[in-house]
């Protein structure tokens, strides 16, 4: 409790509140740009944190992350173009609401739903994080290796229909992570006698390359086709009736989103889809879903924000990111000198609780930004993409330079931009690549340490209850797409039977 209050004091320092507001605002703007999601926002804005003290930098980073989540739903509601998977559900009823001239009401209810979802999830975080960190202390190298394997296989399995591509992306990411000097033996691997490669490929460059440059390249495909839509914002606050319809869906979706967020590989997209479909089933007027039902927007918004807080638990307690966006957050934290893991709660409680409390303050600031500045945000969204994309490219280059102070990395940035573009075109999931590059080094080291401790015997991976559970979960996650496909086929057959009857 003391640490919690201490964290609150840190966040309430005027300078940190200032950073929360700035981060929330910038994150909202980048997250709002069509086609660009929270991962891109965090990747492009990471360099802003350079030169700051770690606590303020983390607070700013988290504010950017949440801001981008809020921003993502703005473009879903106004333009029908979600920035990432977790904002897709917001298009189902948010966009129809905007088409009916209720854009302002939709944005207000989405901001309030996100706020409530986020805040409720913070309470969940407070209760769950410490016990989980204590549990994670029992993990040895073999358990860590298996946990990373589970996370990777879960994230691949969840990209249903793209499993082969997902595993290729994962293997490529893991291989890229082996480039450089091997930390255990000092042996150079795949460095091709290029001194710049001996330290390995900086994963933030890969992230900025595939997310920022790759996304801009991908958006070039449609840049001349995008038609400008003028939206009437209408009133900027929701009605009592809308609130009455939304409050229970919001409250129900928060715990669901939080739990899904904690699970490896799941995250915001699954959480928001699950709460959307469960609310549709519970609703007395399911036919209104998809036509601008306010609860169809409120529920997934609450759920995906709760999931984004939930995803912080495995990230901070075990150093395991559950999604592409949290992988980028992990990259940012490592760059700031913070090593997430169970010991973080022992060694640096100030940072952890400052971050958690910044979620409270950040959510409050974001509601204010998103409700009061609706007009300004809509105007920014009117800025032509043809101006915004070159600016994103410029920021990507500058961000890359500030990472290593070497323009040699510009070539790597462009290379990964092209890789990101072709991955998107050929329907490869990008999260497994990014996640693999980030956890790859640790995964290999833990694998080898486990084998060294057992004198080369693989039985070490079956030696504890935790290990066996992780293996079972990994195997189950691989069968998940098959089960889902069977389930879908069965329900399709049932539908056909119902129609023919």
């Amino acid at each position: 409790m003391d640490a919690f209050l201490q964290g609150f004091q840190i966040v309430l320092q005027p300078m940190n509140i200032f950073w929360v507001v700035i981060g929330g605002f910038l994150g909202t703007i980048v997250g709002m740009l069509p086609g660009l999601g929270p991962a891109t926002a965090v990747a492009v804005l990471i360099p802003i944190t350079f030169g700051m003290d770690p606590t303020s930098a983390i607070i700013l980073m988290a504010a950017i992350y949440y801001g981008a989540m809020y921003g993502g739903s703005r473009s879903s509601i106004l333009l029908n173009t979600p920035g990432d998977g977790s904002a897709i559900a917001a298009t189902f009823d948010g966009y129809p609401m905007a088409q009916k001239g209720q854009a302002g009401e939709a944005m207000a209810i989405s901001a309030v739903a996100s706020f409530i979802g986020g805040v409720l999830a913070v309470f969940g975080f407070i209760f769950l994080a410490k016990p989980l960190a204590n549990f994670a202390l029992k993990f040895g190298p073999s358990e860590y290796f298996l946990l990373m394997l589970l996370t990777l296989s879960a994230i691949v399995s969840l990209s249903i229909g793209k499993m082969v591509k997902g595993f290729i992306a994962m293997a490529l990411g893991l291989l890229i992570s082996t480039i450089g000097i091997d930390p255990q033996t000092g042996v150079h691997r795949f460095t091709m006698d290029i001194p710049h490669l001996s330290e390995g490929i900086e994963f933030l460059i890969v992230i900025i390359g595939v997310y920022a440059v790759g996304e801009v390249f991908y958006n070039f495909l449609t840049i001349d086709k995008v038609k400008k839509e003028k939206k009437k914002v209408g009133r900027i606050w929701f009605t009592k009736e809308q609130w009455k319809r939304s409050k229970w869906p919001i409250l129900r979706s928060a715990p669901l989103g939080f739990i899904v967020g904690v699970l490896p590989g799941a995250g915001g997209s699954i959480a928001s889809m699950m709460s959307y479909s469960s609310e549709k089933q519970l609703s007395k007027k399911p036919e209104e879903f998809g036509e601008g039902a306010v609860e169809g927007l409120a529920a997934p918004e609450s759920s995906n924000n709760a999931a984004s807080v939930g995803a912080m638990i495995p990230l901070l307690t075990m150093g395991i990111p559950g999604s592409g966006t949290t992988a980028v957050m992990l990259g940012a934290l490592i760059m700031l000198g913070v090593r997430p893991g169970p010991l973080l709660f022992e060694n640096d409680p100030g940072i952890v609780w400052a971050l958690i409390n910044s979620m409270f303050i950040g959510n409050i600031a974001l509601v204010i930004i998103n409700v009061l500045l609706v007009g300004l945000l809509v105007k920014i969204l009117d800025t032509p993409a043809k101006v915004l994309y070159p600016l994103i490219i410029m920021l990507a280059f500058i961000g890359t330079y500030t990472l290593s102070y070497s323009t040699a990395d510009y070539f790597l940035l462009l290379l990964f931009g092209v890789i990101g573009l072709f991955m998107k075109i050929m329907d490869f999931p990008i999260a497994p690549l990014v996640l693999a590059i980030i956890v790859g080094g640790d995964m290999e080291q833990n694998f080898r340490m486990a084998l060294t401790s057992s004198n080369g015997s693989f039985s070490i991976f079956f030696s504890s209850g935790i290990s066996i559970t992780l293996i079972v979960l990994t195997v189950l996650s691989l069968f998940y797409p098959i089960v889902i496909n069977k389930f879908k086929k069965k329900s399709r057959n049932n539908d056909k039977e119902a129609i023919s009857a």
């Binding site: 802003i48 293997a171 043809k386 600016l391 410029m394 510009y410 462009l414 075109i425």
Partner: protein
């Protein structure tokens, strides 16, 4: 379109093959298990190679299916936009340090904006280029203390 469809799995096969061959060229370690640094890359490149071959066969099966995204790549000025951005990025890499941040960024961003946004909007392009280059320089170099050339 077919070239891209087959090209991607072939590229993945080549990448996996290069990693696999280079893995055998990794020197033996003097510390610990001499083959320690080899296992992970060899295992992964074989895994990637097998999957890339499966991917190739999957693509061959659907070779004639339409893919709007690949088509979009060859439509309009998409390829030119990407190529010009890459070319400007390469030039930016060479002039960044000798010309300094402000001059090189104004050249890079200016050229990119004129190409992407068109010559007709020259006023907006110039205002955005100069103001954003200056704001970024001021923000990084003065406010955040990042040393820029």
């Amino acid at each position: 379109m077919k070239a891209v469809k087959i090209g991607m799995p072939l590229l993945m096969i080549i990448i996996a093959g290069v990693f696999l061959i280079s893995s055998f060229a990794i020197p033996k370690a003097n510390l610990g298990n001499p083959n320690g640094p080899l296992y992970f890359p060899i295992g992964l490149s074989i895994f990637m190679l097998v999957l890339s071959i499966i991917y190739l066969f999957n693509e061959l099966k659907t070779l004639h299916e339409h893919n709007g995204k690949i088509q979009g790549l060859f439509e309009g000025r998409t390829l030119k936009l990407i190529a010009v951005t890459i070319a400007l990025g390469v030039i930016y890499a060479f002039i960044f340090e000798p010309f300094g941040f402000l001059v090189s960024t104004i050249i890079f961003l200016g050229c990119l904006l004129f190409y992407v946004n068109g010559w007709k909007k020259w006023k907006a392009n110039i205002i955005v280029t100069v103001s954003f280059s200056f704001i970024t320089w001021y923000g990084f170099s003065e406010l955040l203390g990042v040393s820029l050339p």
